[in-house]
């Protein structure tokens, strides 16, 4: 666990913010800079153990209602993604055309869509798609971005210049546009195609943050001290820089998760995302909007739209809560 070392720069992946006094004699923020003395200055606080950034953050998160609500919701979503049959016993692909656009019936609580498929089941299976795309894309982007950006920030020199140019180039293509172009050309698109594409165009965002965080962490005195004590590159990276640089990446990645889910839905809506038999909320909403069919059968639009919005909301709320907990500047 990383200790907050004396004279630490704020872990936000940017150069130290205003108000960084030079007083090396002060253990924590100098009194002249903050208007309140606040806890965190020297001296035992009642009932206290040494607090690192992570235990502080967890302590805050546990008490944050936004975190609890979104966390539970996400837990629920993950569980039904892994085992949809827990709450949906039917097959999302077994449709009966004669039931097309029928309203809710016993056992079919959300009614039927244009093809006569059970909306409820499709909504549940859609969760699996969205969560998979979201989680896998984010993991991929976070990994690729952190490694590339982190190494560029750490080694600097022409590694860094090369990466920066590369980042600029990929940034030049807005993801949606790239998606349109790329995905429309690929024949059959599975969940993994979409994930691969998102990782391909999404890594620069995290790379930039990781690079900034590593550079900012590198400037800390304790890193110089470790180097002077003979620490090799590997040790420096893993023991000293990583724990402090990882927080902004986590914050950005968590929020990005929500946007990737929305991205997949939009691409599927436009018809260049996932294809049947994969169940996608975006595609279902697109079907429902054809010629405004939902006018007479609002359930075919409302349920998938609500499910999509709630899912994205849950992840973004989680991201917000995590950021508030990890960002020292907002304390």
């Amino acid at each position: 666990m990383a200790e907050r070392a004396p004279g630490d720069a704020p872990v936000a992946g940017e150069p130290p913010a205003v108000g960084g006094g030079g007083g090396a004699t002060d253990l924590a923020s100098s009194e002249g800079e903050e208007l309140e003395p606040g806890p965190g200055t020297s001296g035992p606080v009642p009932g206290d153990r040494p607090r690192s950034l992570w235990s502080d953050a967890w302590h805050d998160l546990r008490r944050n209602p936004v975190f609890i609500v979104s966390g539970l919701l996400i837990l629920f979503l993950v569980v039904i993604s892994l085992w949809p049959s827990l709450i949906a016993t039917r097959n999302p692909l077994s449709c009966q055309l004669d039931k097309s656009l029928d309203p809710a019936a016993p056992g079919h609580w959300f009614g039927f869509d244009t093809q006569g498929c059970d909306v409820y089941t499709r909504v549940v299976y859609g969760a699996r798609t969205s969560v998979t795309v979201g989680v896998c894309s984010t993991l991929g982007v976070a990994l690729a971005g952190s490694v590339l950006g982190g190494l560029a920030g750490f080694f600097g020199g022409w590694w860094d210049a090369l990466l920066s140019r590369l980042t600029d180039i990929f940034f030049g293509i807005p993801i949606m546009l790239g998606g349109l172009v790329f995905l429309s050309m690929t024949g059959s698109r599975s969940v993994w195609t979409v994930v691969a594409f998102i990782v391909l165009l999404g890594w620069p965002q995290i790379a930039r943050i990781a690079r900034g965080a590593v550079i900012s962490a590198k400037q800390n005195d304790y890193v110089q001290a470790a180097r002077a004590l003979g620490a090799g590159n590997y040790r420096m990276l893993v023991r000293h820089i990583l724990p402090n640089a990882v927080a902004p990446v986590i914050v950005t990645a968590t929020i990005a998760l929500g946007t990737y889910i929305a991205l997949e839905a939009t691409l599927s809506y436009l018809g260049v995302g996932l294809q049947p038999p994969t169940v996608s909320w975006g595609a279902d909403i697109s079907d429902a909007s054809q010629g405004m069919q939902f006018r007479n059968a609002p359930h075919i639009l409302l349920y998938p739209a609500a499910a999509l919005s709630l899912t994205v909301l849950a992840f973004i709320m989680l991201g917000d809560a995590v950021r508030d907990a990890l960002d020292p500047k907002l304390r």
Binding site: I169, G172, M176, V181, I285, V312, L313
Partner: protein
Amino acid sequence: MPVGRYVIRRLLQMIPVFIGTTFLIFVMVYAVGDPVNAMFGDRAPDPATAAQLRAEFNLDKPVWQQYLLYMGHIFTGDFGNAFNGQPVTELMGTAFPITLRLAVIAIVFEVIVGIVLGVVTGLRRGRPVDSSVLMLTLVVISVPTFVTGTLAQYLLGVKWGWIQPAVSPEAPADELILPGLVLALLSLAYVTRLTRTSIAENSRADYVRTALAKGLPRSRVTVRHLLRNSLIPVVTFLGTDVGNLMAGALVTERIFNIQGVGFQLWQGIVRQNSPTVVGFVTILVIVFLLANLFVDLLYAVLDPRIRYA
């Protein structure tokens, strides 16, 4: 003159990026997919015809050569022909002003409402106004544009009949107001949150304390000291936001039947017409890069520390 040098430097930096990005697009389209097969749709192409077409479109040459030939064409203004035989440039010519109108409406709305809301909530952090606006922005960010667009079109256009559900082909500005609002919503939410955070952070800055210690009235401190510094990250964001707006425009134009760039691009994709797709996307990328350049310059104007770096 430092600002001039900065401009030149940024322009020069843009060139490799432009080349790299357009090449990337090119690769994605021509190397991954097979445009000739696509042109034939579901039917298998006759080998001879296919070979002839390939030669005509230079598809038998290595990718980088194709790219250079294509770039060469572009610089002479030849983007190829669209699915209906029209040159892509002509199609762009009619579509661009429409999307521009839509975008301007969206940007004006997003900037004005977003910044005002952001300032108000930033100064009143923790109060009811702040919490409710924050909640609202979260909801707006979570509901995808195509959902809000569809609902808005239905409720306002069909159910309550306040507006025409589909926009007429010439797309006059007044008909574009609702679509512009729908387009702006997502970006507006981001601008509000960014402004709010920036204001909240900056109000605790040392220079604000100094300004107060100088006995300056609160209004002056807020406007001349706080705002100027707080808006810097917002301006930077607006550059990348152009990308969001492009994506949103695709969706919005499709929903409201606005015959702008997004609409035509989508047609190009549906009909698998590579020249349209590549041509439009290339131009959009240029616009995006220019927008970012402009924003960078604006940033240099606002923040003197950048100019002399």
